[in-house]
Each structure stands twice: as structure tokens, then as C-alpha cells.
């Protein structure tokens, strides 16, 4: 079985290489036959990759432990969903998943490529070439179908940290985003190679771009949620290199989303677009380099730099992408000049441009911070670490400015600022000042939350006000009632309102981040059963404890000793909840302790309890954290998803007034 799959990979390499060459030659010689044949090859490729993936799934489900991948990541104790999710628990499987996504996306993109004239075949060539590259990785470096010389009776099992619903969704969604960014990259390169630098590619790439952007964003947010509920350190974002690496392409991707809108509407920023799309894709590859390549010095993941062979391949690929892109941009520089010049920085165009600049600035800071310890070690031989406060302090002011622009942008006119837009902004400015005054009266004196809250209120009211103004205007001009006007506005200008919803979602996330960063309170306490402690207005009573052995035979990653405690939470005399923070000792693992935190959340704050230690007499140490407003991060994430779907919805009738 695994042999068939491995040989399938060789077929994949042959077919995708053929697809790349045939479509490229087809494009150069304008040969329809060659392009058609390349398209067929890409369908065959998708079938082959699907076959290989199905075989891996079958091997996992049938517990074929002779296959090393199955042996290393599963055991018979593992629940079925995690056997399936073991597909992407390891490196080799996640490459295969990425390739599978890419193969499917390519087939879909190929269906649309005919409408793009001479760009079409170049898109296919770029995507097929990328597929061939991934197949090489699977064959030469990271083969999921590697077999062991014998058949073990039991597998090692999955790392307990990965046994969490977040880990079922986080990697695939993230990889979908990475694979998705191949499409904007391929479109940009195709536009450059074919010389068709009208805004045609920008219009056609929009749904792809939103898709990739959404997948990557949601993937990151699920990762943050996983870190919060499973890693048990009380936070959701640690500025760890692995986290940063996935954030960087999302930031440049967000910048691209905005500059693409400018080219579509105003014919500006052509150079930005043909650079940002390939750059975002290259940064997705960089993210994998950080995760898999062993080049980044990280506290959590050990200090030694043992560069993996895959690192050279990935670095080579990144250099190739950026090199070809740079060459083509240079080659086409005349056609890339904007037809229109911007008139005033104080205009909507100016705001869009500033947005893109600030996003790229933040991306640059995160990139430099992530690579800084490595660079310092290589260049100066100095061992140092950069703590997370660097990112907060360096990106914070830029992020605040960015969010502030979100509030101004919908009000400010194209071309230049008018007195009317300033008048329209007045209520939001007042709302922002009132809220921060209120927060100040409540006793908050730190500048960060004061500024952040003021800006959030400013933007939220500004977005709301524009919607109400539109609604009233529509009602006046058409005579529709409020409900009808609301619906027609929403469906006719869904791109615009979808965009506003996304901005509102960003505000909710900002509120959550502000609350949990600025007002986190923490308490360390040692308690015997029957004792209580209080934190803020909660009283926490330690009821009892248990220590028991689970799945001892045969020994797998799922064999453990469970240390569990039961706590009752009271507030104002009434019982609120029962929390059961636990620790598990997995004696087979090198780092055997896995903490299971207990969280009680509501819209105002999360009570987050970590069991620090528990001895045989029941003496336990707890770390109790109050994280205000965290839930709003997850609510904002949901709204982000909804807003993007509304914005990306295919339009039905005539183009609506968007902005």
C-alpha cells in the first residue's frame, strides 16, 4: 500500500512538471493544444494527489504501524478524530495536505483561466511548478510513506498537546491559507510574464485573495485559541517565532487586499500589487522554514541551531520566487506606472496607502524581531534573546495608528479631504473622548488602554454612523421602510458592508487584546483541601482531589497519571461554577507534564485556573488568572469570518456602489 503511494508521488512529479512546461510553452507559442494538454495534466495531478492522501488516511485508520508515520503519530488508544487529524500532526503529512489543497485549488483556478486571455497559461505554469516543488519535498525529504523494517504491535501515539479540537482545525485551515496564497502569487507573476498589466488580474484575483486571507487569519486565530485553552500559560499570543511566522504573511496579505482595491478602483499602486502578492506567498514559505527548518533561535524549542536539509530547499525556493519577481518588475517597470497620481495625502487614497505602509511596517518589525536573535548569533556571535515586550512596544503605536485610520477612511472622500468629512467625523471623535474620559474616571491611568479604548470607540461609532447615514439616505430617496432599506443596502453594497463588518471585528479583537493585556491579574496560592482563597470578587474553594493512572498498558503517549482537583467558584454568596484544573504525567514523554487548565468565561472576564502542583496529601498550588474581555477576541474572530464571507459573496446584479 505505502509503496503504491510512494510511486504515486513520482507520477505526481512527472505530471506536474509536464503541466508546468506544457503550459509555459503553450503560453509562449500561443498553442491552444499544449495549454489544453497541460490542463488535463493538472486534473490528473489532482487525482493522483487525492489518491496518495486517501492511502495515507487509510494507513492511519487501519493502524498500519509498519508505516513510520502511522507508528510515530497514532496508537490504538487514540480516538477516531485524532487518528484522522494525525494526517497533519507530523511534518510529512502536513506537506501532503498542503500539496493536496494546492492541487484542488489549481484545478479550480484552471477552470477560470480561459477568461484571463494570455495570462491564463502562465497562471497554470506557476501553480504547476509550485506543485512540482512540493512533490520534490515529499519524495526527497519528508516522505509520509516511509516504512519500518518490522511491524510494531502498537504505535507511539499522538503528543497529548495535539489532542485538542483546536489541533483538528488549526493546521488544515492555516495550510489552506498558505496554499491559497499560491493563487494571488501565480496571478501576479502571470500578469507580469504576459505583459497584461491592466487591472484585469486584480479583479479576477479578488475572491482568491479573500479566501487565502480569511483562511490564514482564521488559522492564526484558532492557533491562538488552542494556545489559550491547551498550552496553559494564561495567554493566547506569546510572540513565539512560530506564531510570528504565520502572522507576517497575513500582515502583508492584508496590505495587498487594500492596495488591490486601490488598483481596482483608481488604477493606482500597480507596483505594490505585483510585489505584495508574491511577497505574501514567499512569506508563507518562510513561515514553514521557521517551523520546520530549525534556523530560528527560540526559547521554547531549544537553542541549538541544527539546520534541517529542508531549510536549504525552502530558502532556495524563496530566493527564486523573489528573484524572478524582482526581475519581472524591473523588466515591466514602464507598464507598471500608475496612470493617476494621488492628489493629496489627506484623501481616501492617502488613507489606503498609509494603511498598506503601516501594515508592511508592522510585518517588517515582526520579521526583524523573529530573525534578530539568529542574526545576532550569526553576525556577532552574541547569544541574546528578545522578549515579547519588544513586539508590544514596537508594533503597538503602529497598530493604534492603523486602527485609527479605519475610523476615518469610510468618511473621508476620494481625492481630498472636505469640510463635510470633518463634520461627519465629529460625533465619533466625541464618542472616543467620552469613553476614554469614562475609563479615566473609573480609575484607569495607563496610556495604552486609554488610547486604545478611545480609538476603538471612535472607529466603532464612525462605522455605525456611516451605516445609519446610508440607511437614512436610502430611505429618503426611495421611500423604502427601514427594514427594506437595510436589506437592499446590505445586498447591493455587500462588499462595502462586509468590509465594515471586518473592521468592526478588528475593533472587537482590539478591545479583547487591550483588556487582557492591560488588566490581567494573577495570584499564586497554595491550598489544602477544604481551604479557600479570594481573587477580586471571586471566592475559590478547594473541594477535593484525585490521583489515578490511565491507559497504563501498553505504554503509549496516552498512558498517564492524572492529578485532578475540584474547585467551587463563588461570587457574592452564590455558587457560580465547578472548575477541574488537572495535570497529567505522561511517563513515556520526554517532557512528561501536560497541564489541563480550567476556564470559566463570560463577556466581562475569564477566570483561568492552572494547577501548579499537587502532592499526595492534597496540598496543591494554583495559579489563578483573571483575563478581562478575552471572549471578545473569539467573538471578533467569528464576525471576521462572517464579514469576509459577505464581502466575498459573488455579486448578483449590477455593480453596487462600493467604497
Amino acid at each position: 500500500m505505502s509503496n503504491i503511494a510512494y510511486w504515486t508521488l513520482f507520477l505526481c512529479l512527472a505530471v506536474s512538471s509536464y503541466g508546468a512546461v506544457a503550459s509555459f510553452l503553450g503560453a509562449r507559442r500561443t498553442s491552444r493544444a499544449l495549454v489544453e494538454s497541460a490542463k488535463n495534466a493538472l486534473v490528473v495531478m489532482a487525482v493522483l494527489v487525492t489518491l496518495a492522501s486517501a492511502i495515507l488516511l487509510y494507513l492511519l485508520v487501519s493502524h498500519d504501524f509498519q508505516v513510520e508515520y502511522v507508528y510515530r503519530y497514532t496508537s490504538t488508544h487514540l480516538p477516531f478524530v485524532y487518528i484522522v487529524s494525525a494526517f497533519w500532526a507530523g511534518e510529512a503529512g502536513s506537506w501532503l495536505l498542503w500539496l493536496w489543497f494546492l492541487a484542488i485549488l489549481t484545478v479550480v483556478a484552471a477552470q477560470f483561466s480561459d477568461r484571463l486571455g494570455k495570462m491564463g497559461p502562465y497562471i497554470l505554469a506557476t501553480m504547476a511548478f509550485t506543485q512540482a516543488f512540493f512533490t520534490v519535498i515529499l519524495i526527497a525529504i519528508s516522505n509520509p510513506f516511509e516504512t519500518l523494517p518490522f511491524r510494531p504491535a502498537e504505535g507511539v501515539g499522538m503528543l497529548p498537546l495535539l489532542e485538542n479540537p483546536g489541533m483538528i482545525f488549526h493546521p488544515p485551515v492555516l495550510f489552506l491559507g498558505y496554499a491559497g496564497y499560491t493563487v494571488p502569487f501565480a496571478f501576479a507573476l502571470a500578469a507580469l510574464m504576459s505583459g497584461d498589466l491592466s487591472n484585469r488580474w486584480i479583479k479576477a484575483v479578488r475572491p482568491w485573495n479573500l479566501f487565502a486571507w480569511l483562511s490564514l487569519g482564521v488559522g492564526i486565530l484558532i492557533g491562538a485559541w488552542w494556545s489559550y485553552v491547551e498550552l496553559g500559560w494564561g495567554g493566547y499570543w506569546a510572540w513565539d517565532p512560530v506564531e510570528n511566522a504565520s502572522l507576517i504573511p497575513w500582515l502583508t496579505g492584508t496590505a495587498f487586499l487594500h492596495t488591490a482595491m486601490m488598483e481596482e478602483r483608481r488604477g493606482m499602486h500597480k507596483v505594490w500589487n505585483v510585489v505584495l502578492a508574491p511577497l505574501s506567498f514567499a512569506l508563507c514559505i518562510f513561515a514553514t522554514l521557521v517551523t520546520r527548518g530549525g534556523i530560528i533561535v527560540s526559547d521554547l524549542h531549544g537553542f541549538s541551531r541544527n539546520i534541517q536539509p529542508i531549510a536549504y530547499l525552502l530558502i532556495g525556493f524563496i530566493v527564486l520566487i523573489l528573484g524572478v519577481n524582482f526581475f519581472l518588475v524591473y523588466h515591466r517597470q514602464r507598464q507598471l506606472r500608475s496612470k493617476k497620481e494621488m492628489e493629496s495625502p489627506l484623501s481616501r487614497e492617502g488613507a489606503f496607502l498609509l494603511t498598506a505602509v503601516l501594515l508592511c511596517g508592522i510585518a517588517l518589525i515582526v520579521f526583524l524581531g523573529t530573525t534578530y536573535p539568529t542574526l545576532a548569533q550569526v553576525l556577532r556571535g552574541a547569544q541574546l534573546s528578545l522578549d515579547a515586550s519588544f513586539y508590544d512596544r514596537a508594533t503597538g503605536p503602529l497598530a493604534m495608528a492603523l486602527i485609527f485610520i479605519m475610523g476615518i477612511c469610510p468618511v473621508i472622500a476620494w481625492r481630498r479631504l472636505t469640510a463635510k468629512s470633518l463634520r461627519d467625523l465629529l460625533p465619533s471623535v466625541i464618542a472616543g473622548l467620552v469613553l476614554s474620559a469614562l475609563v479615566f474616571v473609573l480609575g484607569i491611568r495607563d496610556p495604552f488602554p486609554l488610547v486604545s479604548m478611545a480609538i476603538s470607540a471612535f472607529v466603532a461609532t464612525s462605522l455605525l454612523a456611516i451605516f445609519i447615514r446610508d440607511l437614512l439616505a436610502r430611505r429618503r430617496s426611495t421611500g423604502e421602510n427601514y427594514a427594506r432599506a437595510f436589506l437592499t443596502l446590505g445586498s447591493k453594497a455587500h462588499r462595502r458592508y462586509g468590509g465594515y463588518l471586518i473592521h468592526l471585528a478588528v475593533i472587537l479583537i482590539t478591545i479583547g487584546v487591550t483588556g487582557s493585556r492591560a488588566y490581567k491579574s494573577e495570584q499564586l496560592v497554595a491550598l489544602n483541601p477544604g481551604e479557600s482563597t479570594t481573587i477580586r470578587n471571586y471566592r475559590i474553594h478547594y473541594e477535593n482531589y484525585s490521583i489515578e493512572e490511565l491507559n497504563p498498558e501498553p505504554e503509549t503517549y496516552q498512558s498517564r497519571v492524572r492529578f485532578a482537583t475540584t474547585l467551587s467558584v463563588y461570587a457574592g454568596g452564590s455558587r457560580l461554577a465547578t472548575l477541574m484544573p488537572q495535570k497529567n504525567y505522561h511517563w513515556v514523554l520526554d517532557s512528561p507534564w501536560v497541564t489541563e487548565v480550567a476556564i470559566r468565561s463570560n463577556l466581562i472576564e475569564d477566570l483561568y485556573v492552572i494547577l501548579g502542583s499537587l502532592d499526595e496529601n492534597g496540598l496543591a498550588t494554583f495559579e489563578i488568572i483573571i483575563n478581562p474581555l478575552v471572549t471578545w477576541i473569539w467573538i471578533g474572530s467569528g464576525l471576521l469570518l462572517v464579514g469576509t464571507l459577505i464581502a466575498a459573496w459573488p455579486k448578483k446584479r449590477a455593480p453596487a456602489g462600493e467604497g
Binding site: A89, S344, D387, A413, A526, D590, S591, T621, E623
Partner: protein
């Protein structure tokens, strides 16, 4: 904003020249701000790694430092009621006394590879604010 409000674009060359300058100045200001944000914060957030000998040679200071070494088993003194952890960190033949307040980390044991971050106080004790134990290389999967 309706479509019609910007349908007629008549650019005037006179404006463009003045506009250019504004953008160049604006862009330069942003670049300077970003550069300043990076450089001013890198200094404050960088913590050097020192060996125990290097730290002792430098003597007590108010600066945050990171020191790594092996935990010496029979010097561990853990008080669960007060949640203080005292131990010595051994590195290249020198021992450094460390005081840490907080939960005792799970992997904390004799011979564990630890990294402590804190200030080297005049009492000759490193008052640690952070105590990290190096993960044995297993935890590499996403």
C-alpha cells in the same frame, strides 16, 4: 460614497508636483518612525545570555540577564506554602544561587537544563523573574 462622486478625474499637473513632495516627506517620516520604534525598543528588550562565570565577573547590577545551566539536585529548596524556590545553577564549574518566586515548573529536577532570567542582586543571589526549562528536542511538531 457613490460612484458618481469621483467619476470625473481631471488631474492637474500643477498639483502633482506639490503632491509628490508631500508624499516623499510623509513617507520619510513614517520610515523614520518605524526605524525609531525598532531601534529604541530593541535595546530595552534584549537580554544577553551570560555564563555563570561571566555573570560573577561582572558583579551585581540592575540589568536583566539570562543565565543557563544545570540544576543542582541537593540544593533545591521548594517551599510550597510560600511558593519560593531556591536552588543553585551549575555551569562550567561555578555555582550560582537562584531565588525564584512562583509555581515550581513541572520538569524542575536534578540535572534539568534551566534558563533563568532576572537581576543579580548584591547578596550574590540571582533574583529570577522567569524560570524556563529547556524542552528536550521532542516538542518540535506544530
Amino acid at each position: 460614497m457613490s460612484e458618481s462622486s469621483f467619476a470625473s478625474d481631471t488631474e492637474t499637473p500643477r498639483r502633482m508636483a506639490g503632491g509628490r513632495m508631500k508624499f516623499i516627506i510623509g513617507g520619510a517620516i513614517i520610515l523614520v518612525v518605524i526605524g525609531w520604534l525598532i531601534f529604541s525598543n530593541v535595546q530595552g528588550s534584549t537580554t544577553p545570555y551570560l555564563s555563570v562565570n561571566e555573570l560573577m565577573a561582572q558583579g551585581p547590577s540592575d540589568r536583566m540577564v539570562r543565565v543557563s545551566g544545570l540544576v543542582v539536585g541537593d540544593t533545591i529548596d521548594w517551599d510550597p506554602q510560600r511558593m519560593t524556590l531556591q536552588f543553585e545553577l551549575a555551569d562550567e564549574g561555578a555555582n550560582l544561587p537562584v531565588l525564584y518566586e512562583g509555581v515550581r515548573p513541572d520538569m524542575f529536577a536534578d540535572g534539568a537544563q534551566a534558563v533563568v532570567e532576572g537581576k543579580y542582586a548584591t547578596s550574590g543571589v540571582l533574583e529570577a523573574t522567569d524560570l524556563l526549562l529547556k524542552c528536550p528536542s521532542k516538542y518540535v511538531e506544530e
